[in-house]
């Protein structure tokens, strides 16, 4: 920051000495000058690395003169500048300035820059604040009115739980309520009454679905854990049929298993067979009648 400002500072003074016309296009002039000087600015920066006051102009110039050889790109503005310079007498020697005034000017410059930065910051802050408020406003518009929210917070502390299907119903009802309330008073009386009766009926309880999901998922995880511990892989479990048939196998007269028949075997095949038999019988009746 500082080297650039100092460069600015230096050039301003140079031009100021030459005439009032500079003031008018001071900034542009300064820009041009900056471009010219930028090629040498790194060197000046390095020269003034140790927090240097701009000190005397001579030193600054000296630093500038010590600057890097200008590259081809920088050479052109040099030429322009020289043309510009030609307009205003460049032959004059730069004026001398005391250390104190130079320091004062430098300080002022810094202050100005600091102030601009501060102003920029506050402007940005205000902008952000305004945006935040806008968002909050939008969010508030999206949320349900306070009455229902109060009901919800008290409801979440009571002990009755709702089943998921009812919750969805309730959510639908809540949404209806919300959009009706949002679109306000112009609605017909019967619709408003319906909403009111639903709210005062007290046959349901509204619970936040987000909480419910979290709770359900944890409960499901816990149940899965228990199921895995007791009946999962690695546990030595057997079917009830095999368990009860153990005694039958060790009797002196061996008996069959406790559930010997599997009645659930081949239900589809049995059904097809039954249907086929019925159709065949009907066909047989028809042909025999003929």
């Amino acid at each position: 920051m500082k080297p650039a400002s100092l460069a600015l500072h230096v050039t301003l003074r140079l031009r100021a000495a030459s005439g009032s016309e500079v003031r008018r296009s001071g900034v542009a002039w300064v820009m041009v000058q900056l471009r010219q000087r930028v090629s040498r600015a790194p060197a000046s920066a390095s020269a003034m690395v140790d927090e240097g006051q701009p000190a005397s102009e001579e030193e600054a110039e000296h630093g500038l003169l010590l600057g890097q050889p200008s590259s081809g790109a920088a050479a052109e503005p040099l030429e322009d500048d020289e043309e510009g310079d030609d307009e205003f007498e460049d032959d004059e020697a730069p004026e001398e300035l005391t250390f104190a005034s130079a320091r004062a000017e430098a300080r002022e410059e810094e202050r100005r820059v600091r102030e601009t930065v501060r102003r920029d910051k506050t402007l940005l802050k205000e902008k952000r604040k305004r945006r935040e408020e806008l968002f909050i406003e939008q969010k508030k518009r999206k949320l349900l009115p306070d009455a229902i929210l109060d009901k919800l917070t008290t409801a979440s502390q009571t002990n009755i739980k709702k089943s998921p299907e009812k919750l969805q119903e309730v959510n639908l009802q809540k949404k209806n309520e919300e959009c009706e309330k949002g679109s306000n008073s112009k609605k017909t009386k019967e619709k408003v009454q319906k909403v009111q009766s639903v709210g005062q009926n007290r046959s349901y309880l509204a619970v936040r679905l987000k909480d419910q999901d979290l709770r359900d998922s944890r409960q499901e995880a816990a149940k899965a854990f228990i199921q895995n511990c007791l009946y999962g892989p690695g546990t030595n479990r057997t079917t009830v049929n095999k368990f009860l048939s153990l005694d039958n196998k060790r009797l002196p007269v061996k008996k069959a298993a406790a559930q010997f028949l599997n009645n659930a075997w081949g239900t589809q095949r049995k059904q097809n067979a039954k249907r086929f038999k019925r159709r065949w019988m009907i066909r047989k009746m028809k042909t025999s009648k003929k």
């Binding site: 002990n159 030595n236 153990l246 060790r250």
Partner: protein, 686 residues
């Protein structure tokens, strides 16, 4: 007695849910049992092990822990993350408090009963303070890495042991920090890939921590140094539960193979003072996992996935060695789950989440005694009515004419009207039932099906008049003297004048329906009522209690009948008093006023009041005498109690008309066939 054709019904597919937790309360000698569907039942062990109260289940409530706290308060916690307190007077749930730790796996009440400790899924152990009307969160202990599956307090209340996956932590209650972390081997003398789950821990007062885990080990740890003292390998499968007696000289563990082991502290040699823990007795009363055990001062209680509740009194602790010291196995419900419509020959079966309506089959054949008659028309499954919502059905009833069905869950009451055209049935729901009808404990229709009687759990009795397609609330009998006492059983007289209601503690109240006021109260008896019925014509109220006493009370006369006084003076036969299961249903013969038909799970009996009563020396279960015996012998052995054990296990038995009986049986094998898989047993030769 007469000849009856009996409909033997075996299509009631009743499967009870497995027992998950058991908690024994020493002061009141009561046992709280929680099942996998969320039902909590309270058994009164001193009243002949009768189930006196129950709380209906809920689909989302997967109870994992149950405990009693100071002042007879019952708490349960489950995988839905909530701690629930039950109101034992009003028979409903007082409140459910979310512990905010995820699913709760374990819960333990402090030894002095004023604090509650809860172990959660996220590894946190939370301490709650029990205030007079609620519980309040106090603080969290140090959070552990994996879920806390078991908890146990030191008897002084200063330390707790928490069992998790692969390790046990010992916490200091005051600071809440973990003092020791004891790592458990995954397998006895070996390595295993499967993690070792510590299913149960117990903290003894000398600082020993006993842990049971899924590798089949019972380990003794020293909590002061955090080291393993002794290691017992007792099973090839998980050891899932542990319970220590109050004197800390014995404890019981239950395994997944169904075996229950009893460990006792015995001295090393007969006169030395040094003692050690020795595995003394194995009991094999279960076929499936034993997930809960409890140790009362005189008995070992176990329950598991095979749905039996087994109470095994320990012979050395029992003072009087009589029939009370025998093994008790509670398998069948102590309430009626079936109602019958006699006119239309319909049966209504009550399940946890649905009702089934069946029409009985018919036969045209006749035969002699003992014949099986072929059915000409099969039994018909008319209706399968599913309940809405996650709650279980508490009670249900069908009207005698068969056109009304009513059932109740904890939050709603449903009434349906049935219409029969030819062979079709159509159902119509009566909407807008009043709110005070919900959570009914018992529903009953009057004989002419015009009135509905509902006993709610708040103690009030409601009478509703049924009209075509709608209803009208007639009257409500409020409970007396401000006490909330739930009415469990109802009976109505066939002529519709009298209504009898029994509560859990006071006597049986008899109400006059015509005048809508209380008529009289049968004096209270110290055992709960198991069945009630009012006889036709004579209006005698027959009451059966859980200690197998049967009383007969005349309602118009407001006193016990002659017969009842006689039998109380003489006393029942000792075999009658030694029956295990309570009488659940009483009915009468319309033409024979001297007959009372009652049944329990293993027998049904017709009491003939005109015949002499048996004394202790006569044979109680006398079979039907053969006809070629002389009359003298028949007269000598005839007594009032005609008992038959042909149909068992009986869930319901009733007289449909003068010549027909219906017996609903539920063979135990059919229940076992639908249970979850058991642990494999390897037997030589199979």
């Amino acid at each position: 007695m007469g000849e009856f054709t009996v409909h033997r019904v075996r299509f009631f597919n009743y499967v009870p849910s497995g027992i998950r937790c058991v908690a024994y309360n020493n002061q009141s000698n009561r046992l709280a049992v929680s099942r996998t569907d969320g039902t909590v039942e309270i058994y009164n062990l001193s009243a002949n092990y009768f189930q006196e109260k129950f709380f209906p289940g809920h689909e989302s409530r997967a109870t994992e822990a149950l405990c009693w706290a100071k002042g007879q308060r019952l708490f349960s916690a489950g995988l839905n993350g909530e701690i629930i307190e039950y109101d034992l007077q009003a028979l409903n749930i007082k409140y459910a408090m979310d512990a905010f730790g995820g699913p709760i796996w374990s819960m333990a009440a402090s030894p002095h009963g004023s604090q509650l400790l809860v172990g959660c899924e996220d590894g946190s152990v939370k301490l709650f303070q029990i205030t007079p009307d609620k519980i309040q969160f106090e603080r969290n202990f140090d959070r552990q890495k994996s879920r806390i599956l078991s908890l146990s307090w030191h008897p002084s209340g200063t330390h707790i042991a928490a069992g998790s996956i692969d390790y046990i932590s010992v916490f200091d209650v005051k600071s809440g920090s973990a003092i020791h972390k004891m790592l458990v081997d995954r397998q006895f003398m070996g390595v295993s890939k499967r993690k070792c789950i510590i299913w149960g821990v117990a903290f003894l007062s000398d600082g020993t921590v006993i842990s049971v885990d899924s590798a089949g080990k019972v380990q003794f740890w020293d909590s002061a140094t955090g080291t393993l003292v002794k290691n017992h390998l007792i099973a090839n499968a998980d050891v899932q539960s542990i319970a220590v007696s109050d004197q800390e000289d014995s404890f019981v563990v239950g395994t997944a193979e169904g075996t229950v082991f009893h460990f006792q502290l015995v001295s090393v040699t007969s006169n030395s003072s040094e003692k050690q823990w020795v595995r003394t007795k194995p009991f094999q009363h279960h076929t499936h996992d034993v997930r809960a055990v409890a140790h009362s001062p005189t008995a070992l209680i176990s329950g598991g996935t095979d749905t039996h509740l087994v109470i095994r009194p320990l012979m050395e602790k029992v003072e009087v060695k009589n029939y009370d010291a025998a093994l008790r196995k509670i398998t069948f419900p102590h309430r009626r789950l079936i109602s019958c419509s006699k006119k239309k020959q319909l049966l209504l079966f009550q399940f946890a989440h649905h009702l089934e309506l069946w029409r009985l089959g018919s036969t045209v054949a006749t035969g002699k005694n003992g014949d099986t008659l072929p059915l000409s028309k099969d039994a018909d499954h008319l209706l399968h009515l599913k309940t809405k919502g996650p709650e279980n059905i508490i009670c249900s009833c069908i009207s005698p004419c068969g056109s009304w069905i009513a059932y109740s869950t904890a939050s709603r009451f449903f009434l349906y009207r049935l219409n029969y055209e030819h062979d079709n049935i159509s159902l119509q729901r009566v909407s807008k039932m009043p709110a005070f009808l919900r959570s009914a404990l018992q529903i009953l229709f009057s004989e002419d099906s015009t009135k509905l009687f509902v006993a709610s759990n708040q103690g009030s009795l409601h009478i509703i008049r049924l009209l075509e397609g709608s209803f009208k609330h007639l009257h409500t009998f409020q409970p007396q003297s401000g006490t909330v006492e739930s009415m469990c059983l109802l009976a109505v007289s066939p002529d519709g004048n009298w209504l009898a209601a029994s509560g859990t503690s006071a006597g049986v109240h008899v109400y006059n329906i015509k005048h809508l006021k209380l008529h009289c109260t049968v004096p209270a008896y110290n055992f709960p009522v198991t069945a009630l019925a009012i006889a036709p014509n004579t209006n005698n109220l027959v009451i059966a209690h859980s200690d197998q006493q049967v009383f007969e009370y005349s309602i118009p006369g407001k006193q016990y009948t002659e017969w009842s006084r006689t039998i109380q003076k003489q006393g029942f036969h000792h075999l009658w008093l030694q029956r295990d299961t309570p009488i659940t249903h009483i009915s009468f013969h319309p033409k024979k006023p001297m007959h009372i038909l009652l049944h329990d799970a293993y027998m049904f009996c017709i009491i003939d009041k005109s015949l002499p009563l048996p004394n202790d020396k006569t044979l109680l279960y006398n079979p039907l005498p053969p006809t070629n015996e002389s009359d003298v012998i028949r007269r000598r052995t005839a007594h009032a109690f005609k008992i038959s054990k042909i149909y068992k296990p009986l869930l319901f038995m009733d007289l449909l008309d003068e010549r027909t009986l219906v017996a609903v049986e539920r063979p135990l094998d059919d229940i076992i066939a639908q249970l979850p898989p058991p642990i494999k047993k390897k037997k030589f030769g199979t």
